[in-house]
Symmetry: C2
Subunit: 543 residues, 2 copies
């Protein structure tokens, strides 16, 4: 079982050093500390275990070290920054694991950009040695890239020429869409195993600068100091601690404080219930800070995040997640109100940004999601997003057991999807005028109003409810899981495309395709034969 929880004192591959406004994250991968057997993590290459630590560090910096303005990513290994995802790990992994590994590493890199974009923390890749493959992909997720000019170190994407796969952790997309490298140069660079060194790499826009070895540290430091000065002035912010999430686990369940996960393995679905907030939570920023990570919107969404990752990697046969909530709408709305009115306070901003990331993680999960709105539920405000994020939603229409949906300010833009739109905007692309009308509704929607407004897919009455849900679950879990993955990836993200949706929808789909092709993973494939005395042999038919 893969565990996604860690903390700095458990890190094996990264050193996190914080010095006032500057944090330095140094990669120092321990060859033998792998997540699975059969490979060694040489040359700062990584497996999922290494990336779980990186994701944790980025998340922790946001909550625990809010005064940090610049994060420097570098390496403690001489002459090598990072050699990318470990090839032998990829070569010995199942297709499903490769896909999940790439998705998580993509989310980690998008989290860097989310921090940079929304919280203004600047990320500097200080490449004290060669950054190849995933190493360079990590660098281009940063705001600025500086490479040592030692006559040897280079940046490179050798996946196509050496491995017969893609730089699929955002690499190709970020080349042309983020750094806007000319496409013919991107073509040359992506087929050049040895990559490019300082001068040409700078000319082509692949890095932002290069410095000789003797001046590297000093020059990076100078640039970092400039970035600190450009950033908003340092205030005496105090972070909160992200304490470990605890849960009671049984073979078919995992019960966190606010998230209750119940597996029905035979039926291939899971029931995931979110418990709403307690009443009378603080309305004041200082009190919220005192609650720290026990504050409902932080704890509940961290638990949801962990549950989603657990389902993805440890429960691959679960194809459908049935989302429910339990609690009082009024309590959810009170939390949303507190978040809205304190939105400029750093901790509240981070809490809301984290909620947005978790909801995006849900939509990027290769499982179906159905939401069931039943008596005792509290689909209000931020939890209403679960109705809108689901592939379908069912709401009980029974006057004797009324249920409701309620909007809040948080449905108006604080929790954007990967495509940059709100879930209401994505839902009503054909009737944009509905968006504001719904968002401004005063008071709850009952089942009929919700159906009429288009907020739920179906609103069966109590006579049909049990049967309709049972059949919907049975039908869904009987379908081809691959076809569902492709279908959901196509239907969930209508409207505009962003770098994120390009990475998850386009680049990832091509990479997944290639990850199955005999030219990569067959007996004579390039990935299979990497590092062996045998050479790859291709079927040269172009498809």
């Amino acid at each position: 079982m893969i565990n996604f929880q860690t903390s700095p004192n458990q890190y094996r591959h990264w050193k996190l050093k914080v010095d006032g406004p500057v944090a330095t994250l140094s990669m120092d991968v321990q060859e033998d500390q792998t997540l699975a057997d059969g490979y060694k993590l040489k040359l700062n290459s990584y497996d999922l275990g290494v990336d779980i630590e990186l994701a944790d560090a980025i998340q922790r910096l946001r909550f625990e070290q809010p005064q940090v303005r610049v994060v420097v990513l570098t390496s403690l290994k001489p002459r090598i920054f990072c050699a990318g995802a470990n090839i032998y790990m990829l070569g010995t992994s199942s297709h499903a694991f490769k896909v999940n590994f790439c998705k998580f590493t993509n989310e980690t890199r998008c989290a860097i950009e989310d921090d940079s974009h929304h919280s203004g923390r600047r990320y500097v890749a200080a490449l004290n040695g060669t950054a190849s493959g995933g190493g360079y992909e990590l660098a281009i997720a940063c705001d600025e890239i500086y490479l040592v000019d030692d006559g040897n170190s280079a940046v490179s994407l050798p996946e196509v020429p050496l491995l017969g796969v893609l730089p699929g952790t955002g690499g190709l997309t970020r080349l042309v869409d983020k750094r806007k490298i000319r496409r013919d140069r991107a073509d040359v660079f992506s087929t050049l195993a040895e990559g490019l060194k300082g001068k040409r790499a700078k000319e082509w826009g692949l890095i932002d600068g290069y410095f000789p070895t003797s001046k590297f540290e000093e020059s990076v430091r100078t640039r970092v100091d400039e970035l600190v000065k450009e950033a908003s002035p340092l205030t005496a912010l105090t972070g909160i601690n992200l304490t470990p999430l605890t849960f009671e686990a049984a073979d078919d369940s995992r019960h966190y404080k606010y998230v209750k996960l119940q597996l029905n393995r035979e039926g291939r679905y899971a029931d995931l219930t979110l418990i709403g907030p307690e009443p009378n939570l603080p309305t004041d920023a200082n009190e919220i800070q005192r609650l720290g990570d026990s504050y409902w919107p932080l704890r509940a969404y961290r638990e949801l995040d962990d549950a989603l990752l657990h389902l993805r990697v440890n429960e691959p046969e679960i194809g459908l997640v049935c989302l429910r909530t339990k609690g009082e709408s009024a309590n959810v709305l009170a939390v949303d109100q507190a978040l809205s009115s304190n939105r400029d306070y750093w901790l509240v901003r981070e809490i809301v940004l984290n909620m947005a990331r978790v909801l995006r993680r849900l939509e990027l999960t290769a499982k179906s999601f159905f939401t069931f709105v039943e008596p005792g539920s509290c689909f209000a405000g931020n939890l209403l997003e679960l109705v809108l994020a689901a592939d379908r939603s069912y709401m009980l229409n029974d006057p004797d057991s009324p249920v409701e949906l309620v909007v809040s300010d948080l449905n108006k833009g604080a929790l954007p999807m990967s495509n940059g739109l709100t879930r209401l905007q994505s839902r009503f692309l054909s009737e944009p005028e509905r968006v504001d009308k719904i968002a401004d509704q005063d008071g709850p929607f009952d089942a009929e109003a919700a159906e009429e407004a288009g907020l739920v897919t179906f609103a069966p009455d109590d006579l049909d409810w049990e049967d309709e849900i049972r059949v919907a679950i049975e039908e869904r879990t009987s379908l081809s899981p691959d076809a569902l993955t492709g279908m959901e990836a196509s239907l969930r993200f209508a409207g505009p495309e962003t770098m994120d949706t390009k990475i998850y929808g386009r680049l990832t789909a091509w990479q997944n395709w290639i990850f199955q092709r005999p030219n990569a993973v067959g007996e004579h494939g390039a990935l299979t034969n990497y590092g062996k005395p045998t050479q790859a042999q291709f079927d040269y038919k172009r498809t």
Copy 2:
């Protein structure tokens, strides 16, 4: 060998009837007239042969019947409009063939929308019976969809529930991005094998209207008459004939009039040389009309189109196409000038739109393209697009044998890429100010100026030229063809996304992935077992 040329008197599956401003294209697929053995085209299901006729009909209407304002697509079979791509054909096809088949059918549907969008011809799908799968995908490529309300006929996308694959001929994308169906309804519809009938289909936005059997023809006719009236008034336009393209073929070559294709099968590349126009071509619309389809920009690009399709389907092992031109830049510029100054004349508009489609077909081809700018070449105006469309371009820098690139008005927007940008805009996403500067350049760019301007990738001198080209070709053709396909699909279309790029980049990549999965094409896969007494058995791991 698959031949993409046909004409109405050769059609076996479609009847084309033109009555003044209205053309009716009726599908009447002949079961036994298949392109390959092993399946029968029952219930108006189609194979590539059926779609080649449809593509030809749409193309021909634009040139031969310019007075047509509305095209009605319907069926001559009772109770069935079209059952989509033939499942047994898909089940028995190689992966490469499936992929190429889907790409061509996608291009045909995009050609319908291109005609509608740019030439104002309205397409009406008159569904006199059930439209399922590719049948409904053909319908949603049309502007309006009307379904007979006979208590039985439905629209449906049964690919996911019945076949374990996607409605990959634009279906999923057009549902949410063109018709803007709410995503939860799209989810329900795409998993509902039997689809939806008139009333609910209309409610959900899947069709534009439904009429009882007794009034179906009349009601469609009424709507068609309205559309004719809304269209630009009928003028006495006379079409031109698209005569068959002739070529001399040998085992390793195909020589059309303006396009010379030479295969180097051992080296896995092709040399494709476009011969530029003759001098003194007409500058006047009437003279252009008299030349008809022998006019260079029409004939040369039709030949290029045919050569590309031939390479795709009949020469799968050719991985690289080396593009060259031969002729006088001045003659190309004169043609561009004639096209620009007569751009409002219907035939000239159609000629330019066809050029744009052919260039897009090139960029959607799963082969690498290198352009070589050598002495005797004429990369000016519309042919300069070949330099910009290529994955890389090499230009000889030899003062003794000067070569040039020249811009014309046609580089400024008449030949857009699938992403909606000009090739200059796509090239200079990081320096948009370069676009106008280059487009407004008076006079040619020599090799140094072209390299400086960023128009070519490399400009080797004559000492290096032969070696550099040889090595570039050898290196490219040694790489994994699958990795190149994924890489090129990611690098060619930076910047904004359109419905077209979503269909080719996102939906197609997912479909290609699924087309390889055991759950679709394995021994127990849904596609393999369709129509057999055995049932599909899935590996339910979600990936």
